[in-house]
Amino acid sequence: MALISRGFRGRRQSAETAGRLPPGQYATRDFPVLSAGPTPRTPLAAWDFTVRAADGRSARWTWDEFTALPHQTTTKDIHCVTKWSKFDTVWEGISIDTLLSEAAAKGVTSSPHVIARCDGGYTTNLPLADVTGGKAWIAFMYDGKPLPPEHGGPARLLVPHLYFWKSAKWVRELLLMERDMPGFWESLGYHNYGDPWREQRYAGDE
């Protein structure tokens, strides 16, 4: 039961906007930056991307190989655990489905869990089912331009149906795993799954 804040009116959203806002979120036009440390800057010549199976077998792409893979443009609402949501963000990237099928052709077998590993040491964990079936991408363009470093460039994971900390910036590897393992924020008090529509912000939220 919530306490009524005497005299608080708040800023109502239009009915259409309100239906797109998960509980406790507000819509912003800005694109705030949140990261726990300095922004890593890896030159594209040194950048690569790896999908690694639980048994260690892997598929690897250089930047040129990676960006030559079939890619898609997708328009999504995104929701940050720090309460802001941003509507209709436009991304270009490679579907995880594409990466996994390319990797499978190189003998990389699938597993039920995945952890994203990033430059700077950041990690985040996801069920494989949440990054397959057209739900997740490795994005390298935002709003028609190369993704800026502070927003995760050259490439970030994009999993828009979960809180945005799951959309790991500066991602370099997807590690497939037989068992779940908490990532960076998931080890520091944030929710293991992070569904914004169920307001799963912190460990213990149902």
Binding site: G10, P23, A36, G121, G189
Partner: protein, 260 residues
């Protein structure tokens, strides 16, 4: 199984405003009594939730300004003219009112004396708030420690404000620095330095960080909090100077534009 998955839910609590302390023209501190507060670490924050009469709710995060050693919880809130929650906290809330919050939240941008030093804090504007909790915590612990311990945990704060009147906790920072030879507080005033100002008068840059901070060889614990452009440029400069990225912890707020 992830141990965090079995953690208890962070409950909403009903806090009572004990006191409201003016800080600057844009900021004030809410001193709160929070029954059964589980304790916190310096640098953590809380979520505040406001509910209108028709059930509409808004939530925002605020850094905790008070150290773990204090019995009351202090939040220093900056009034954003176009904000949804901060004008209410700044204008409407008075001593005796109640407020819903939950926390503490965040386990990375935290420091306690057990983490060691030297401690180098870099803040801009209201980004001082979680850094102040660290300085207050350090002071509370070291007040009863001997000189050896104190000299092993030196601290430096580099704090950027637009104007001298915008400096939050100005008196308290001066007092802390005067009473503690192992704490150094350095201001830079970027817009209108007061008459006779001899200190820095530009945005924090690499040269300033090299002059005020410890060299990377000392492995200082570095915390940077402020508007995004400040944090981006400071964190990048610290890495260029040679600090290990893992020892540079950042907290950014606000949109990508703006500046302090």
């Amino acid at each position: 199984m992830n141990p965090a998955a079995t953690a208890p839910r962070i409950a909403w609590r009903l806090a009572t405003v004990i006191e409201v302390l003016p800080e600057t023209s844009e900021t004030r501190t809410l001193v709160l009594d929070v029954p059964e507060w589980p304790g916190h670490r310096a640098g953590q924050h809380v979520d505040v939730r406001l509910t209108a009469e028709d059930g509409y709710q808004a939530e925002r995060s605020y850094s905790i300004a008070s150290p773990p050693e204090e019995s009351h919880l202090a939040l220093t809130v900056e009034r954003l003219d176009d904000g949804e929650v901060s004008p209410y906290l700044s204008d409407e809330l008075h001593a005796g009112d109640t407020l819903e919050l939950r926390g503490p939240i965040g386990g990375y941008f935290v420091w306690d004396v057990a983490n060691g030093g030297p401690l180098f804090l870099v803040g801009g504007g209201s980004g001082i708030v979680p850094l102040m909790a660290m300085l207050r915590h350090r002071n509370a612990v070291l007040a009863s420690a001997d000189a050896d311990v104190r000299s092993g945990l030196p601290a430096r704060l580099l704090y950027s404000s637009r104007r001298w009147d915008n400096v939050i906790y100005r008196e308290e920072l001066a007092h802390l620095a005067e009473s503690d030879p192992t704490l150094e507080v350095v201001h830079t005033i970027t817009r209108n330095p007061p008459d006779g100002w001899t200190g820095f008068r530009r945005r924090i840059d690499r040269a300033m960080l090299e002059k005020i901070g410890w060299p990377p060889s000392e492995q200082p614990r570095v915390f940077v909090c402020g508007p995004t452009p400040l944090v981006e440029s400071v964190a990048s400069a610290l890495v260029e100077i040679g600090h290990q990225p893992a020892l540079v912890k950042t907290e950014r707020f606000g949109p990508t534009g703006g500046s302090t």
